[in-house]
C-alpha cells in the first residue's frame, strides 16, 4: 500500500501542478477550418474517412441485461447502461450478439481484438499500420488499474505490447520536461551510433548460419532498422522542444486499486490530449477489474468488483455491478464529449475523425462465457444511432470479425477478412 502511494508520488512530482498554455496543433480557441502548416496529413481528404482509433477493453465486460435494449434498430428504448450515453445517442452504435466464437474463461479474454486465435495481430495494430503515419507514437497502450494478465494488443509478430498504467508516465512520455528531453536526446543520439557496432556483430553471426537461420536473424536486422527509425522519429520530435498542454495532473498517480475509476478518467483525458496534439492516432485502454471495493457517490459497494461480476443473479450484487459499469459509461460519455468539443487540424470535430470502440473479451463474467461480447462504437464519421442485434448461436450469422472488417475498410485497409471471417456487416454501408 505504502509503496504504491510512494511510487505514485515520485513519478508524478514533475508534472504535478504544471499548467501552461501552449502552442497546440489545434485548440478550442482556434477558428475552425484554419489550415495548419506542416501537417503531415494536410493533403488528405479532410472530410471523409476516420484518421484516429481509440479502442477500450473492459476486463469484466458489461452486464448485458442492463445494456441491451429489447428492440433493435434506431428506435431502441433507453437502458440503464446506455443512459449515460443518451446525449450521444446519434453518435453511437450498439452491437449485441457479436463475438468471435472463441473459447471461454478469463484466459480467452485476449481474443477480443485478435479474433479466433490469440496472438494474431490485433485490430488496433492493423489500423495503426494504416493510419499511424509519422506521429511520434505509432500507437499507445494504456491501462486503468493494475497491469493485468490479460493481453489486449498484439503486434504483427504476435508480441503482446506492454501497457502503461501510470498517468504520470503517459504524461511524461507525451509532454516531457526540458531535463528529460536532454537525457532522452543523449540516449537517442549515442544509441544511434551504437547500432552500427551491433549491426557488424550481427553480420559476423550471419556468416555462420544456414538459410533458415539467416531468415530468422533477419528479424534482428529489421528490428534494428525499426529501432533506428523510431529513434530518428523521436529525435525529430524532440527538436520541436517541450510540448506543453493545458492540463493539470493530480499530484498523485491513482494507483491504489480503489482509485481505478479515477485512473480510467485520467487515461481518457490523456488520450484526448494525445489525439489533439497528434502525438498518436491509435490508442487502446484496458480497464482492469479485480477485487477492489469502490465507493461511488459516497456509498461503498457491497462487494469487490470481481465478486460483483460473479453476481449469480443476486439482485443486490447486480445493482452494485451496474453502478460500477455506469461509471465506465460516464467516463466514455465524457470522453466522447471532449472529442466532440475539440477540433482536428481541419477544423472538424475530433469525434468525426476518431472511431471509438468500447468492448470486451468477456461476454458474461458471471459464468465466464465469452459468447456475445457487448460492443459500442462511436464517432469516426460512421452512421450511428442504432442497436444492431445478431444471434450469437447462429454459426452463419454475423460475427464481431465482420464488424472489424467494416472498421478496417473504413480506415482504408483493403481487406475483406478478419481472423476466420470474411465480409463486412452491412450496417454502415
Amino acid at each position: 500500500m505504502m509503496n504504491l502511494i510512494h511510487d505514485g508520488r515520485r513519478t508524478l512530482l514533475k508534472s504535478a501542478g504544471v499548467t501552461l498554455a501552449l502552442p497546440m496543433m489545434s485548440s478550442l480557441g482556434r477558428a475552425s477550418g484554419e489550415p495548419v502548416a506542416n501537417s503531415s496529413v494536410a493533403t488528405e481528404d479532410p472530410v471523409s474517412g476516420a484518421k484516429r482509433f481509440v479502442c477500450i477493453g473492459s476486463n469484466l465486460g458489461l452486464f448485458r441485461k442492463a445494456l441491451y435494449p429489447e428492440t433493435s434498430g434506431r428506435n431502441f428504448e433507453m437502458t440503464p447502461l446506455m443512459k449515460p450515453l443518451e446525449a450521444h445517442r446519434d453518435e453511437v452504435t450498439l452491437f449485441s450478439g457479436f463475438d468471435h466464437r472463441a473459447g471461454n474463461g478469463h484466459l480467452n479474454w485476449d481474443n477480443y481484438l485478435c479474433g479466433k486465435r490469440i496472438g494474431s495481430m490485433s485490430l488496433d495494430q492493423m489500423v495503426a499500420e494504416q493510419i499511424g503515419g509519422d506521429t511520434r507514437f505509432e500507437s499507445m497502450q494504456l491501462c486503468a488499474g493494475d497491469i493485468p494478465r490479460q493481453r489486449m494488443v498484439f503486434s504483427r509478430q504476435g508480441v503482446p505490447l506492454p501497457m502503461i498504467n501510470r498517468p504520470s508516465v503517459v504524461y511524461r512520455k507525451l509532454f516531457a520536461s526540458a531535463d528529460d528531453l536532454a537525457r532522452q536526446e543523449y540516449l537517442l543520439r549515442s544509441g544511434q551510433s551504437a547500432l552500427d557496432v551491433v549491426q557488424e556483430d550481427a553480420r559476423m553471426l550471419k556468416h555462420r548460419l544456414g538459410t533458415d537461420d539467416q531468415r530468422k536473424l533477419q528479424e534482428y536486422f529489421s528490428s534494428l532498422r525499426e529501432l533506428e527509425t523510431r529513434m530518428t522519429r523521436q529525435l525529430t520530435h524532440l527538436a520541436d522542444g517541450v510540448q506543453e498542454v493545458d492540463y493539470e495532473l493530480p499530484a498523485y498517480d491513482p494507483m491504489a486499486p480503489t482509485m481505478m475509476l479515477e485512473c480510467e478518467q485520467m487515461m481518457f483525458d490523456l488520450i484526448a490530449l494525445a489525439l489533439q496534439t497528434d502525438s498518436t492516432r491509435v490508442a487502446t485502454l484496458f480497464i482492469a477489474g479485480l477485487g477492489q471495493v469502490f465507493t461511488l457517490d459516497g456509498q461503498t459497494m457491497r462487494a469487490g468488483y470481481h465478486a460483483l461480476s460473479h453476481h449469480g443473479n443476486d439482485p443486490d450484487l447486480i445493482r452494485d455491478l451496474i453502478r460500477v459499469e455506469t461509471e465506465h459509461m460516464r467516463c466514455l460519455a465524457r470522453f466522447l464529449s471532449q472529442l466532440k468539443d475539440r477540433t482536428d487540424e481541419h477544423g472538424r470535430s475530433l469525434l468525426d475523425s476518431t472511431v471509438v470502440m468500447f468492448g470486451t473479451g468477456m461476454g458474461d463474467a458471471s459464468r465466464h462465457s465469452n459468447r456475445d461480447l457487448p460492443t459500442l462504437i462511436a464517432g469516426g464519421g460512421l452512421r450511428h444511432g442504432s442497436h444492431v442485434a445478431a444471434d450469437p448461436s447462429s454459426e452463419s450469422g454475423p460475427k464481431l470479425g465482420n464488424v472489424f472488417v467494416s472498421l478496417l475498410q473504413h480506415f482504408g485497409v483493403e481487406t475483406d477478412q478478419f481472423s476466420d471471417v470474411s465480409g463486412r456487416v452491412d450496417h454502415w454501408t
Binding site: M204, S223, T300
Partner: protein, 874 residues
C-alpha cells in the same frame, strides 16, 4: 522387434488401441496408392473435407512441412482416427503397408538436429544479467514484452521472435544497467524550501479532516493510510536531512482528561548506511529501514511554531500523526471500551446508531447520525444494558474499521485533535548515502573495479576482453574487442567524458546478437555452446566459472567431464530447473493467474497458491535428488504440502500438519506427509496445482483435463478438434451431467476416435473441483447445495475398467515407460528449444531402454539425455 513395433506396443499398453505395421507381408501395392485409395475421396483438392487436402504427388520429403503433414497422417492412421468408421476401413494389412511406408520415409528424411536460431527468453535474459553483472536483485521492468509460450515453454526458437518492441525493451534495459555501472553525472540537489498549506496534505480514508484552513488528526493507530497525513506534493529530492517547520495546535474539550497531545513527525523511510551510521547523529545503524521520528508536545491552546530536522531517503516524505490520541479503532478491545463510554455518555448517539442500523462509512455516516440524533429528544431513556452491549459489540467487533471511519468525525469536530495549519520543508541541509545507493555502489565497484582509468587504452581493452567473454559466453574475437574499444574512444571524444564512452559501449554490447542469441548455426555444438546449452537447461542461466573453464580447456564434450558437470549442477544448482521446467511443463502460471470462484472457497490466499506450486517443485526436486523412479511421480507414498493446502484442499488431518517447530507459520511451512500408495492423494495427476491449472477457477471440463494428461503425462496429444465443433460447457447446476452431455462423443464414431482416449481419463479427474479438492457431487448453486453426483467410472480403450482416479494412477504406475518417454521429450524440448522430430523421438525411445531395469529414475533420465548425441547437436 523393430522400433515401430515397440512404440506401437508400448502405446497400445497405455490407452490407445494402435494399429501396428505388420512386416510379415510383402506389399502388392505401395503406401501412396493405398493412401490415395482410402483418403482422396474426401481429401482431394476439389472436396477438401474439413479444409484438408492430402497432397501425395511430388512429395518433397526434405521439406519440414511435408514431414509435419505426413507425421499427422501417420498419427491419424495409426490411431484409427481416419478414415471415419462409417467409411471404407482399410484392412489391417493395408494399414500396416501405409504405416510402414510413412515410418520408413519419416525416419529417413527427419535428420537429427535442426534447431532454430533463438534468442534468450525474457526469463533467461534476466538471469543472465543477474549473473554477468552480479545484480542479484535485478528484475525486468514491468511491461517488458512477455514471450509467447509454445506448449507452455517460453524458450522455443519458433516463438522467440525478435520484434522491434523486444529490441527496444532490451535497449531500454541496457541503458538502465549502464546507468548503474557508469552513472551519469548527477546534479547537486539545491537546498529548496517548500511551503505546504493544510489543503496540500493528504486525506486517506478517514485519516484526516480539512476544516477552517487546518488539517486535523484525531485517531491513533499504526496504519499510515488510516491515521496519518502527509504533504501531497513533496518528496525528498535526495537522501538527506530536512528542516521541517510546523505550525500546529491541539484542542482538548473541557472535562476530557488526556495527556498533552503529541504531534509526531516521521520520515516515510530513512535507511542509514551501516558504515556511516545514522545520518543525523552518526550513531551506528543496522542498515535496516527505520523511520526517523521526532515528537512535538502541543499544549492545548494557541498554535505553536516548531522546527525540527528529519532524515528522509530519496523519494520519501514526512508523515504526521497523533500517536497518543484517545480514539483508536485499530485495537478492538480499546475501541470497544471507547464506544461503550461514548454511548453511555451520549445515549442519543447510541439511539441514533441503532435507528440507522449501519451508518455509511466516513463523514456522510456521521452526518446521518447527527441528523438522526436531532430527532431524538434530549433526555430520552438510554438503551438498556443488553441492547447497548450487543450494539457496541457489533460495532467494535464486526465493523470496527468502517464504524471507526465514521465515528472519528465526531472527534474531528469535537476533539481531542491536533491540527496542522501549515508545514514548511527546507533542504536537503546535508545529504547521505542511503541503503539502496550503497548497494548499487558496492555492485558497481565489484563489477567495474575501483578507480579504473578509462582514459587509458589498455585499461579499456582489458575490461572488454573480460566483459565480452562473460557476456558472449565465449572468447571475443580481436575485431569485436577493437570495435567496442573504438566506440568508447569515439564517444569519449564527442562528450569529453570517458565514463560516457564506457556507458555507451556497455549498453551496446547488451543488445549485441552475440549476447542475445545462443547456439548459433548447425552441426555439433562446440564446447562453449555445449556449456551454454547445459547451463541454461539445468540452471536457467549462463555457465558458471567452473563449467566455463571446462569449455575453455576444451574438455567439456568428454563424457566423464560432461557427466561430472551435469551431476554437479543437478546437485547444487537445480533449484531453478525444477521451478522453470515444472512451470512450463505443467502450466503452473495458471495457479497465479486464476482467481477461484468465491463460491468454491471464500478465502483463497497466497499460502494456498504458494503451497500448491511448492508441492510440484519439491516433488521434482526430491525425485532428482533421490533419483526416484518415474512411478513416484505418478503414485508416490507421500505428498509435500503446507498447512493451508493440506487443511483446505487435501483435507489432511490436523495432527499430521502440526508444525514441527515452534513459532513457525503452520499455513506456510512445507512438510512431507505420508499417504497410502493407493490413496488418491500423491502424484502429478491429482496435485492441486495441476487440478487448478487444468480448470478455470470456476468449473471443470473433463475433456480439457483428459487432453492435458494425454499431452503432458503420456506424450500423446490428440489432434486438434475438427472445426465447427462448439465447446461443451456442462451445466452442472441443471439436470444434465457432464457425462450425459459428452455421451455424444462416444455415439458418433468420428468423435469417438479421439474421445475414447480422452474422456475416460477426464472423467476420473472429475472427482476434483477447480482448486483440486475431492468431491463426490457437483455444486448446485450459490448456497453450496449439492448437485448431481460425480460419475467417474469408465473404460480405457484397451478394456481396462476405471472406477476412480486411483485405478488410473495404478495403471500408469505399472506402465511407466510412456510417462518416462513423455518426460524425456519434454526435457529435450525445454533444453533444445524445439520439439524432437520423428527420428529423434525414436532415438529417445532407444535412449531410455537402458533405464528400464531401474524403472526410469529421474536423475538418470536427465543425465542420459545430456550425454546423448541428440543433446549435443544444434
Amino acid at each position: 522387434m523393430s522400433v515401430m513395433h515397440r512404440l506401437a506396443f508400448q502405446s497400445g499398453l497405455v490407452l490407445s488401441v494402435m494399429f501396428v505395421a505388420d512386416t510379415s507381408h510383402v506389399a502388392a501395392v505401395d503406401g501412396p496408392q493405398l493412401l490415395a485409395q482410402y483418403c482422396l475421396d474426401c481429401h482431394d483438392a476439389s472436396f477438401a473435407e474439413g479444409d484438408y487436402v492430402l497432397q501425395l504427388d511430388h512429395l518433397d520429403w526434405s521439406h519440414p512441412h511435408t514431414r509435419h503433414e505426413m507425421e499427422r497422417v501417420h498419427q491419424f492412421v495409426s490411431k484409427g482416427i481416419m478414415p471415419p468408421a462409417d467409411f471404407d476401413a482399410p484392412t489391417n494389412q493395408d494399414r500396416s503397408i501405409i504405416l510402414r511406408w510413412l515410418d520408413e520415409n519419416l525416419r529417413q528424411h527427419s535428420p537429427v538436429g535442426g534447431m532454430t536460431l533463438r534468442r534468450l527468453s525474457a526469463r533467461e535474459y534476466a538471469n543472465s544479467i543477474r549473473s554477468v553483472f552480479g545484480l542479484s536483485s535485478f528484475e525486468l521492468p514491468i511491461g517488458f514484452p512477455p514471450d509467447t509460450l509454445l506448449d507452455g515453454f517460453d524458450n522455443q526458437g519458433n516463438t522467440l521472435v525478435m520484434a522491434a518492441s523486444h529490441l527496444e525493451a532490451f535497449a531500454d534495459s541496457a541503458a538502465n544497467i549502464a546507468d548503474q555501472m557508469f552513472p551519469p553525472p548527477t546534479d547537486v540537489v539545491p537546498n529548496q524550501q517548500v511551503h505546504v498549506p493544510a489543503k496540500d496534505l493528504v486525506v486517506s480514508y478517514s485519516s484526516a479532516f480539512l476544516t477552517d484552513g487546518e488539517m486535523r488528526l484525531a485517531s491513533s493507530g499504526t496504519s499510515v493510510v488510516r491515521h496519518a497525513t502527509w504533504p501531497s506534493k513533496f518528496e525528498a529530492p535526495a537522501s538527506g536531512v530536512y528542516e521541517v517547520t510546523v505550525k500546529a495546535r491541539s484542542y482538548v474539550p473541557n472535562g476530557i482528561n488526556v495527556p498533552t497531545p503529541i504531534l509526531r513527525l516521521q520520515s516515510s523511510q530513512m535507511t542509514g548506511n551501516p558504515k556511516t551510521g545514522n545520518p543525523k547523529t552518526g550513531e551506528p545503524t543496522t542498515g535496516k529501514s527505520a523511520p526517523d521520528v521526532v515528537e512535538l508536545e502541543l499544549a492545548p491552546g494557541e498554535s505553536h511554531r516548531l522546527t525540527r530536522s528529519i532524515a528522509i531517503d530519496r523519494g520519501g516524505w514526512v508523515q504526521f500523526r497523533y500517536p497518543n490520541g484517545p480514539f483508536d479503532y485499530e485495537d478492538k478491545e480499546a475501541f470497544q471500551t471507547t464506544v461503550k463510554d461514548l454511548f453511555t455518555a451520549e445515549p442519543r448517539l447510541a439511539a441514533a446508531w441503532e435507528q440507522i442500523g449501519s451508518p455509511p462509512r466516513g463523514g456522510s455516516g456521521w452526518d446521518r447520525l447527527k441528523q438522526a440524533m436531532s430527532t431524538i429528544p434530549a433526555g430520552s431513556q438510554p438503551l438498556e444494558a443488553m441492547r447497548l452491549d450487543s450494539l457496541v459489540n457489533s460495532i467494535a467487533k464486526k465493523n470496527s474499521v468502517s464504524s471507526g471511519e465514521t465515528l472519528v468525525y465526531k472527534f474531528f469536530e469535537e476533539g481531542p485533535y491536533v491540527a496542522i495549519e501549515s508545514v514548511t520543508i527546507r533542504g536537503p541541509v546535508t545529504t547521505y548515502e542511503d541503503r539502496s545507493q550503497a548497494k548499487a555502489r558496492l555492485e558497481r565497484e565489484r563489477f567495474v573495479g575501483k578507480d579504473r582509468d578509462w582514459d587509458d587504452e589498455q585499461s579499456v581493452r582489458s575490461f572488454f576482453d573480460g566483459f565480452l567473454e562473460i557476456l558472449f559466453r565465449r572468447p571475443p574475437t580481436r575485431s569485436e574487442v577493437d570495435a567496442y574499444c573504438s566506440l568508447v574512444r569515439r564517444e569519449t571524444r564527442v562528450t569529453g567524458a570517458s565514463d560516457r564512452g564506457m556507458h555507451l559501449a556497455v549498453r551496446t554490447a547488451l543488445i549485441s546478437p552475440a549476447f542475445l542469441y545462443r547456439e548459433v548455426g548447425s552441426g555439433q555444438l562446440d564446447d562453449f555452446e555445449l556449456a551454454s546449452r547445459l547451463s541454461y537447461f539445468l540452471t536457467s542461466g549462463p555457465p558458471d566459472a567452473e563449467l566455463y573453464r571446462t569449455a575453455a580447456d576444451g574438455v567439456l564434450s568428454r563424457k566423464q567431464v560432461l557427466q561430472a558437470q551435469t551431476r554437479r549442477l543437478l546437485r547444487d544448482h537445480s533449484d531453478r530447473l525444477v521451478v522453470d521446467f515444472a512451470s512450463a511443463w505443467l502450466g503452473l502460471d495458471a495457479v497465479d493467474r486464476l482467481m477461484p470462484d468465491t463460491r468454491l472457497i471464500r478465502r483463497f490466499t497466497a499460502d494456498h497458491r504458494e503451497g500448491m506450486k511448492a508441492e510440484v517443485y519439491q516433488t521434482l526436486q526430491h525425485a532428482i535428488d533421490a533419483n526416484l523412479p518415474v512411478r513416484d511421480l505418478i503414485a508416490p507414498d507421500f505428498v509435500f504440502t503446507n498447512g493451508a493446502v493440506g487443511r483446505d484442499i487435501y483435507g489432511i488431518d490436523r495432527d499430521q500438519l502440526a508444525s514441527d517447530r515452534k513459532g513457525k507459520n503452520t499455513d506456510r511451512q512445507m512438510r512431507r506427509v505420508s499417504v497410502a500408495s493407493d490413496d488418491w492423494r500423491g502424484g502429478l495427476l491429482t496435485m492441486p496445482a495441476v487440478m487448478m491449472a487444468t480448470a478455470n477457477g470456476v468449473d471443470t471440463q473433463p475433456v480439457l483435463r483428459g487432453v492435458w494428461v494425454l499431452s503432458n503425462i503420456l506424450g500423446s496429444p490428440p489432434p486438434e478438434p475438427p472445426k465447427a465443433v462448439p465447446a461443451l460447457t456442462p451445466d452442472t447446476a441443471g439436470a444434465t451431467s457432464p457425462r450425459d452431455l459428452l455421451a455424444r462423443h462416444m455415439s458418433e464414431s468420428s468423435c469417438a476416435a479421439c474421445h475414447r482416449d480422452i474422456d475416460p481419463v477426464g472423467f476420473v479427474l472429475e472427482s476434483f473441483d477447480a482448486i483440486g479438492r475431492w468431491r463426490d457431487r457437483y455444486p448446485k448453486n450459490r448456497s453450496g447445495e449439492k448437485g448431481l453426483p460425480v460419475e467417474t467410472a469408465g473404460q480405457l480403450p484397451d478394456g481396462t475398467q476405471l472406477s476412480d482416479v486411483t485405478d488410473l494412477k495404478r495403471y500408469l504406475a505399472n506402465a511407466p515407460r510412456q510417462v518416462a518417454q513423455c518426460i524425456t521429450e519434454k526435457l529435450m524440448t525445454y533444453a533444445s528449444g524445439r520439439k524432437p522430430n520423428y527420428t529423434e523421438r525414436h532415438l529417445i525411445e532407444k535412449m531410455i531402454d537402458s533405464l528400464e531395469a531401474n524403472e526410469y529414475p529421474l536423475r538418470d533420465l536427465i543425465e542420459t539425455l545430456v550425454l546423448s548425441d541428440l543433446f549435443q547437436v544444434k
